[in-house]
Symmetry: C2
Subunit: 291 residues, 2 copies
């Protein structure tokens, strides 16, 4: 059994990006530029945004951090989005979610120029992913595919079972792994809350992707020997063993499932660290498509 | 066992649309308007286009048939698309595929205003379908869901196995049936040419959707008793039993599979007739969204 080190491969990916940026800037060209808009003062979001800005510094990107007050109207935010769309020296930007309730997230997402939508949430990018055209793949499915690539996990002809059908994880990763690509060609089953005989299906999985957000839901009796387990769950639960008073739990009962698995991602330290690297990779891709 | 009568429900759907059009025009409003562009002289395409125009007449739509020569350049076609995009009295239009080889189909599809894309091929509409937002669903997946609705076939908690991962059939229908909707909520497995243990999986299907284009590929030993079979295959094969010298064959060996099935679509007369009705339904939807 091998524990997948998401931190390690995320660092490798970031180093590769940093090297590429160095090559670009050493020729006198400007560095790639990512902007992040955050509206309001959600504590979790601020941590995420700070991490994204730090990652930009690490790889040598220019970054712009735009903080707007909670009271920002939808119209005002749309205007800011338009300004960023029109900024020819900006390669990509994201609007950190969730947004305050008086703003339609979908309206904002659709207002972003899809060629700068490095979060990959615009319908054009989701549509392109679905039909196998190049575009921006959102962070978690990108990270999962990257893990599969870098650990040389074979997917062709394998049975992938995805637990969860969310628009940002289950659905896109199920599509990517089933497509006619080098790291696709799997037979893919999507299960969810309405699947009655879940265990019967998960037991068939060569690769199990758990993305349902129920801590320790997947137990050893649900998987077969040699399974590859990708755990996307990150639920905060109270803990008296940590200073902060809480810890992250995955969807998989790690101790017992890891005994049967050939590869398994831990939580934290598995898929999580890959997501910021994905954002950087998309921004570099946006830069290169225009420069 | 019940044979699904695609012709019958297609006619019903068209009659419902015709009634709605009558109600609209009786108030003095203009009728919905569909345009079809055909480039070149592909025999098959001309038959399809004529059928679409006839169907428009049947339901009381205004229709415009634009025939362009094989020698039309991509630029010229893009110009025509732009004209139709800008025509405020046109609700929807399609560019009949395939196009001559010197024209990029994807470029043309992406040039169509997605709010007039009644074929449902624009990445925005595919993206919206993927994340469950309202938009235009393309003809065959639309027709399959309509069959399931009108025959009251339960999908929630059922295992749907889709044979084929094409962008116009297998992929979209697999997404639709797995979503959290009244006619969704199924556990869905997508199989394809790289699936090694196909029979093992198809035998689990409560609903089997065959869309691989290999005549009579699905045999009785591959399905369980009571299965619902939707056969999307339409391969022309030579026949000395018909005047034309050929007949249509589905992906399913009808005679033997029908003996085990609870519902089954025949070929021809199953999914096929639904596709034109889908186009009309999308055009009416486009009209209503603006009028």
């Amino acid at each position: 059994m091998q524990i997948i080190d998401g931190k390690l491969i995320s660092t490798k990916l970031k180093e590769e990006i940093a090297n590429e940026v160095l090559q670009i800037t050493s020729t006198g060209k400007r560095a790639p530029h990512l902007a992040v808009i955050i509206v309001g003062e959600d504590g979790g979001s601020q941590v995420y945004v700070n991490n994204k800005i730090k990652a930009c510094e690490f790889v040598g990107f220019k970054s712009t951090h735009i903080e707007l007050p909670e009271s920002t109207t939808e119209e005002e935010l749309l205007k800011r989005v338009q300004e960023l769309n029109n900024d020819s020296e900006l390669d990509g930007f994201i609007v950190q979610l969730p947004l305050p309730k008086h703003i339609s997230e979908q309206k904002i997402i659709e207002a972003i120029d899809h060629s700068k939508d490095v979060d990959g949430f615009h319908p054009v990018n989701i549509g392109k992913l679905t039909i196998g055209l190049p575009g921006f793949v959102s962070a978690t499915p990108f990270g999962i595919v990257e893990i599969i690539k870098r650990y040389n996990i074979q997917t062709a002809g394998k049975h992938v079972v995805v637990l969860g059908r969310s628009n940002i994880v289950g659905r896109p990763v199920s599509i990517l792994l089933s497509q006619k690509t080098e790291h696709g060609n799997a037979t893919v089953t999507v299960c969810h809350s309405r699947t009655p005989n879940l265990k019967e299906i998960t037991q068939q999985a060569d690769i199990l992707i758990a993305a349902i957000g129920i801590p320790e839901y997947v137990t050893a009796d649900m998987v077969k020997d040699g399974v590859v387990v990708i755990d996307v769950g990150t639920t905060r639960i109270k803990s008296d063993q940590t200073k902060s008073g809480w810890k992250l739990k995955g969807d998989v009962k790690f101790d017992e499932v890891s005994e049967k698995a050939s590869f398994i991602t831990p939580v934290p330290g598995g898929v999580g660290p890959m997501t910021i690297a994905s954002l950087l990779a998309n921004t570099l891709k946006a830069y290169k498509s225009k420069n």
